[in-house]
């Protein structure tokens, strides 16, 4: 018995040894900066007067900060607009490739995934050109037809335009997750269903989609995080539409501007923390409700 226990102890220890590289990186690159940012967020640094302890003052200010609240509202709207479209597209693509009915499925899979491999910076510059009001393809076509092209970079269409870029970028990424989940469904389920007379549509609806639920939930949570942390696309489009995308267009952009334009890193840390909190809460609410549904 004692031998068994000591062996288990040895195994336990070797587990930590294997996990050590991860834990070390996690501690150094995640927990430590997080703790430092939390510490910073309790101070107020002024150009005149230096740094003073502010307690939760930054958080109180942030909670009533109209610009921040408007930004959070905007990314929430973005989430509602963009994520359903993207996940429906990704699911459809995953089902189509998994169905085996598509010719050259590998090429399709790669083709849909490729936008994800293009750096966000490059993608946004490219889309900035495509949306361009003077020489973008839409604008050129419109001028040939003597109609006015929609102002993709204007006040009303900016958010849908960004949503379009993000959808283009991340549909392939979500498709891969969903496709991988589909591959784990035992094939004999399909055979059994086929023997019972179910066609491909019926199989997709009654077997594949329910099997995708956990993977879809994962995609959804990634999308919550991605939406609320939206930064690169608006930051780059700011250069072509400076009056549409202000410094507080998204909460992350706002934190960035407060840190580097207004030189208020402490306030930016508080904003980032609140944003992180909102993301965590929404993610957990989703996980919790989904877990309850799955159990039922």
């Amino acid at each position: 018995m004692s031998q068994q226990a000591s062996q288990r102890g040895k195994h336990g220890r070797s587990g930590y040894v294997f996990a050590a590289p991860f834990l070390l990186c996690f501690l150094l690159l995640f927990i430590l900066p997080l703790g430092y940012a939390a510490y910073l967020s309790l101070f107020k640094n002024q150009l005149v007067g230096g740094t003073v302890f502010a307690g939760l003052g930054n958080y109180v200010t942030a909670l009533t900060d109209g610009q921040l609240i408007a930004g959070v509202g905007r990314v929430a709207l973005f989430f509602v607009l963009q994520v359903p479209v993207m996940l429906v597209l990704a699911t459809a693509a995953a089902l189509a490739i998994d169905s085996g009915l598509l010719r050259m499925a590998r090429i399709h899979r790669l083709g849909i995934f490729i936008p994800y491999a293009i750096p966000g910076v490059v993608a946004t510059l490219m889309w900035g050109y495509l949306y361009g009001p003077d020489f973008g393809p839409a604008a050129q076509l419109a001028s040939k037809l003597h109609v006015t092209a929609p102002d993709f970079l204007g006040q009303t269409l900016m958010l849908p335009s960004i949503a379009n870029i993000v959808t283009w970028e991340y549909t392939g990424y979500n498709m891969i997750i969903l496709y991988a989940a589909l591959r784990t469904v035992p094939r004999d389920l399909y055979e059994a269903a086929a023997a019972d007379g179910a066609g491909p549509w019926r199989i997709a609806w009654n077997i594949k989609l329910p099997a995708l639920r956990p993977a879809l939930l994962l995609c959804l949570i990634f999308s919550v995080i991605g939406s609320f942390q939206l930064f690169t696309e608006p930051n780059l489009l700011q250069a072509v539409a400076p009056t549409v995308i202000g410094p507080s267009y998204t909460p992350n952009l706002y934190a960035y501007s407060r840190a580097f334009i207004s030189s208020e890193p402490d306030y930016a840390a508080a904003v980032s923390f609140l944003l992180g909190l909102v993301t965590v809460v929404i993610s957990y609410v989703m996980l919790f409700t989904a877990a309850r549904r799955l159990r039922r």
Binding site: P33, A37, V48, D134, T232, N235, A239, P247, I261, P265
Partner: protein, 452 residues
């Protein structure tokens, strides 16, 4: 070098880097190492004979040519040139290094308007102990004023400048028989004439993203938007002169006579090249910049002084230009100060800046030299463009000050006046908003805001 265009923001993209730098930004500032007593010539001689390596952050392309001239004269001192990004990206790195207290260069290129954002944190070495005051007469007075602090400190040496003038399309003016406007009233009339004759053309484009151009216009109008003395700051970004500028341009824009495309974007380059804009109210660095960027209209452009608010007057403002500053924390303040002085006052290097890098000079010697003013520019139909701008340089208002939080001022400008320009809205009201946003920011930063 061009002053605060948003174009440079493209280089800032990485959000991850932002988060990392954020952490490093707020501990207390580093301590001073430079002494305030004057150094003797013997000390200078000794320092210049001691083997030393200076690190110099600059985005001037191929500045190694000028550095070589210095190293030839002072073989013991080596200068390590580092391009840490243009303008804002470099300042962000510099501020991060200053806060961290390590990794700062000995010298840095800093644009005039950003000097106060570094002096407020006491990050630049006062160059008076190293004999800087003796150089005052070598520079145009308004330029020297730009590098001089409130108590007479000299924080940098001027490298290049951007006196504002009017570049116009001679062919378009001739086609619609428009005379070159000498006053803003004539300019407004010309704008009506041109747009009526050709609805696809605008007399000029006033970018809704370029606070630099706007500040230049304020400067020309005699506005004093910022006045700083210690921790007291006056914010009059909508004083009488500024209101005049705001209602004038706001009127032209809302009447649809002037476009407001963001500058240094593809749309804007196309506009310059296709004759959408018949003029560009811009600075002395623009003529050479255009030679390389809008080739299709070569030979059709001409330069003239900027239109005036009162006829018979001759005043202008400045847009852009850089300085060389010595950064606090340097272990070699003497060698760094001597290098900054040499680079920006030596006849060989200053002339090279103009001929090799096309920088517009800041020294009176070069501005007055016939080889400089006599240069004929083919892009401008052989006009002696340098002569036009050299003349303008001497008419620039002195005493224009910049705020210690220019980044905030620019950001707030874009969301108020810039937005009003882009939306063809009420620019005069936007100027009020700009002032109130800046006032609340300055107050939150601990400044005492003097009643305007």
């Amino acid at each position: 070098m061009r002053g605060f265009t948003r174009r440079t923001v493209f280089g800032l993209a990485a959000g991850a880097a932002a988060a990392a730098a954020l952490d490093a930004c707020s501990s207390s500032s580093s301590t001073a190492t430079a002494t305030s007593t004057a150094v003797t010539q013997a000390e200078i001689d000794r320092a210049m004979k001691t083997p030393t390596t200076l690190t110099f952050w600059t985005w001037v392309p191929e500045i190694s040519q000028e550095v070589a001239v210095f190293e030839q004269k002072y073989p013991a001192v080596k200068v390590n040139v580092v391009n840490a990004g243009q303008s804002l990206p470099q300042y962000t790195k510099l501020r991060t290094a200053l806060t961290a207290g390590k990794g700062t260069p000995d010298l840095a290129q800093i644009e005039y308007e950003y000097l106060p954002t570094f002096t407020i944190t006491d990050s630049l070495v006062d160059l008076r102990p190293y004999g800087a005051a003796a150089n005052a007469s070598k520079f145009v007075p308004w330029v020297w004023g730009q590098v001089t602090g409130a108590n007479g400190e000299i924080y940098a040496y001027p490298q290049d400048t951007g006196p504002m003038g009017l570049l116009y399309r001679e062919d378009i003016f001739a086609k619609h028989s428009i005379a070159v406007p000498t006053t803003w009233d004539e300019f407004a009339t010309a704008a009506k004439t041109l747009h009526a004759a050709d609805p696809s053309a605008y007399l000029t484009n006033l970018s809704d993203n370029d606070a630099g151009a706007w500040h230049g216009l304020l400067w020309q109008a005699g506005a004093k938007p910022y006045s700083v003395s210690g921790t007291t700051i006056g914010l009059d970004v909508n004083d009488a002169a500024a209101q005049k500028v705001a209602s004038y341009w706001g009127g032209l824009v809302s009447d649809g006579l002037v476009s407001t495309d963001p500058d240094f974007t593809d749309t804007w380059y196309t506009g310059l090249d296709t004759g959408k804009y018949a003029t560009w109210v811009t600075a002395a660095w623009a003529p050479v910049f255009m030679t390389g960027s809008v080739k299709a209209t070569a030979g059709k452009w001409r330069a003239a002084p900027v239109p005036q608010w009162a006829s018979g007057q001759q005043v202008s403002g400045n847009w852009g230009g850089s300085t060389t500053a010595v950064v606090k924390g340097t272990a070699h303040p003497i060698a760094a100060a001597v290098f900054a002085e040499f680079l920006n006052t030596d006849p060989a290097t200053t002339s090279m800046f103009n001929t090799a890098q096309n920088l517009f000079p800041s020294t009176t010697a070069l501005l007055g030299s016939s080889s400089f003013t006599g240069d004929k520019n083919a892009f401008f139909g052989g006009q002696q463009v340098n002569q036009v701008f050299a003349g303008i340089s001497s008419t620039i208002n002195t005493g224009f000050q910049w705020p210690p939080f220019l980044d905030e001022a620019v950001s707030d400008w874009t969301s108020t006046i810039g937005k009003a320009l882009g939306d063809k809205g009420d620019v005069a009201t936007a100027a009020d908003q700009w002032e109130s946003q800046l006032t609340s920011y300055a107050t939150s930063q601990g400044f005492h805001v003097a009643a305007g």
